[in-house]
């Protein structure tokens, strides 16, 4: 019996820990989002080259960063799940995928809306854009493969294979602007005017990025908790939880 309890303690204890952490991350996401948008729209000055169109940066860059970070985090949890056969890490990986896909879509969407006025086109098949599109397909592939397999543990393992193989795409996205002559601009926001402008633009972008992180953590924790309940619904502790709730 003691071994049995120990076996289930990991997802169960995580369930309660996550429940306590979700409000903190939600509050942080909302506060940082408000501050970041305020700086982005009311403090950061007009870009002398791009006018007001550059303000897309405050959602575009955080979304693009999140799309890559979340993929790496998802692959790491998948890999841990595959290597050590820990259920919780695979559940977290599964919970990350939809949020990662959402941010990838947003990066592509806002990029298209930024590309149209600046480059004169919604889309080009350049290295940065194409590799980011492949990232979206990797997320979709991960989710649909897992959805297609009934046994959750087998789905975890199959998904982990996609996630781990797809990691090779992340450095390709990141260095694409260096390796190839792309239409997409370089890695850093080059604001070569007064340092004051650079700092407020950069501050707004970084605060929005942290806000996106907080949001992603909060929503992934909520989804992980749901997945834990789904998979552990036949266990004693979930039964007790349901009993206590009424």
């Amino acid at each position: 019996m003691a071994i049995n309890w120990f076996k289930y303690s990991s997802p169960a204890s995580f369930y309660f820990l996550a429940g306590k952490m979700i409000p903190l991350f939600t509050i942080a996401a909302v506060l940082l989002g408000v501050v970041g948008l305020y700086i982005g729209f009311f403090v950061a000055p007009t870009d002398f080259q791009q006018g007001e169109a550059y303000r897309i940066i405050f959602i575009h860059v955080p979304a693009a960063w999140m799309s890559m970070f979340l993929y790496v985090v998802m692959a790491v949890w998948s890999g841990i799940g595959l290597a050590f056969n820990t259920r919780l890490s695979s559940m977290i990986a599964t919970a990350i995928a939809p949020t990662g896909a959402m941010f990838t879509f947003l990066a592509l969407w806002t990029g298209a809306l930024w590309g149209k006025p600046m480059w004169g086109t919604w889309w080009v098949w350049d290295a940065r854009l194409t590799s980011e599109l492949i990232l979206l397909f990797l997320y979709i592939g991960f989710m649909s493969l897992q959805a297609a397999i009934d046994d959750p543990r087998r789905a975890d393992k199959a998904g982990a294979m996609i996630a781990l193989v797809g990691v090779v795409n992340i450095p390709i996205i990141y260095f694409s602007v260096k390796w190839w002559n792309t239409l997409h601009q370089g890695a850093t926001v080059s604001v070569t005017q007064s340092p004051k402008m650079a700092s407020t633009m950069l501050t707004g972008m970084l605060i929005m990025s942290i806000a996106c992180w907080m949001y992603a953590i909060a929503v992934v924790l909520i989804r992980t908790r749901t997945i834990i309940l789904e998979r552990e619904r036949h266990t004693v502790w979930v039964g007790e939880l349901q009993g206590a709730a009424r």
Binding site: A53, T110, K116, E230, G243
Partner: protein
């Protein structure tokens, strides 16, 4: 364009319509933020829907097992 750049580097929007116009890029800027908002709101709705559906399902299971146990004791 009605906005001016103050000495401190801060943007001063002349009016609400000036703010919405975004120097002629309103469609692109607001198109980005509107879709971002829809995506995030949509994800939040979906994640809570999934949770609520599951909890309802679980409480039904719990209820039915409770009833079965109740039936066992009464019969």
């Amino acid at each position: 364009m009605g906005r001016r750049i103050a000495r401190g580097g801060a943007v001063i929007w002349a009016s609400v319509s000036d703010f919405l116009n975004m120097g002629g890029y309103g469609f692109y800027v607001w198109g980005s933020y509107l879709v971002a908002f829809i995506c995030i709101a949509g994800e939040i709705i979906l994640v809570f829907n999934r949770k609520r559906t599951l909890l309802r399902h679980l409480s039904l299971i719990h209820q039915s097992t409770k009833q079965e146990k109740g039936n066992e004791t009464t019969s």
